[in-house]
Amino acid sequence: MNKFRGTGGTGATAAQFLLNLFIAFLWMLLLDEDKFRVTTFAAGFIVGIFIVFFMHRFFGTQFYLRRMFAIVKLMFIFISELVKSSWSVIGQILSPKLTIRPGIFRYDTVLESEGEVTTLSLLLTLTPGSVVMEVTEDGRGLYIHAMDIESSKQALIVQLKNFEKAIMEVTR
């Protein structure tokens, strides 16, 4: 799938963006309105996004908005995880008897660069029920304090894997 990775440098991105702009202009001119309207241009740009998206395989490069889509996807994953884990933490806090078993466990991430690991720990610390306590010196091992290690460790690891996958789509 990533056969063409590396061939799509900044030049290819710029070419796709220019093509998209060109389509937007063409759209605006073909509609032949009596004055310049931003909304028409924006509509043309959106049409252009679709056209470039369906054509990009013929350029042999990756779609230039792929990274943006990946960021939007990461945001949606994050929000859904935030709501889910908030719900469980509220349940734990408000239950008449505290039945939680907190604990610290180590997780070795597959992410490599500093930025990726920072993003992962930021997202993980933002979602309730887990805080990153310490990062090992090589930046691969995370020590995570979990609110309820017995019942939610498995769910936490699934969540971590989700985040990792989404982050890798953005950065690679």
Partner: protein, 136 residues
């Protein structure tokens, strides 16, 4: 019911939910046993609370007064950038200065790792001293 009322009610619901969330996190702050679990309540539930409240405000101004408040969005952004850092640093400092986990806690792999590291360092130092002694 026109569109304005719907938006108004949505914003109100968001804000009330946000308020309830911060109430819950305050309760958690009192109920939970140690600094580590408390930091969960303090930093986490409140991020969602702030998100909901500010989003409600943003929606209200946007729909009813046609005013896009960038300040509210920036508020959300900066709370999301700073809250996890604060939580991380607080409990890291707590663990480094030796605050015990609550009795209900199950396991502490970090303390185990730290102990192992200490032992290794001690062993290394002993070896070095031994070498120095034999050298002299």
């Amino acid at each position: 019911m026109n569109a304005d009322t719907i938006v108004e009610y949505t914003a109100a619901i968001l804000m009330v939910t946000g308020g309830l969330m911060s109430l819950v996190s305050a309760i958690g702050l009192i109920r939970l046993p140690d600094v580590y679990t408390r930091s969960h309540a303090a930093t986490k539930s409140s991020t969602l609370a702030v998100l909901l409240t500010l989003l409600g405000g943003f929606l209200y101004f946007w729909a009813l007064e046609r005013f896009i408040s960038v300040r509210l969005l920036l508020g959300i952004l900066f709370v999301f950038l700073t809250a996890p850092v604060a939580g991380h640093v607080i409990i890291r400092a707590a663990h480094r200065s030796g605050v015990k986990l609550a009795d209900i806690s199950k396991k502490d792999e970090l303390a185990e790792a730290k102990e192992r590291l200490m032992e290794e360092q001690n062993l290394e130092r002993l070896n070095r001293e031994k070498k120095n002694d034999s050298g002299v």
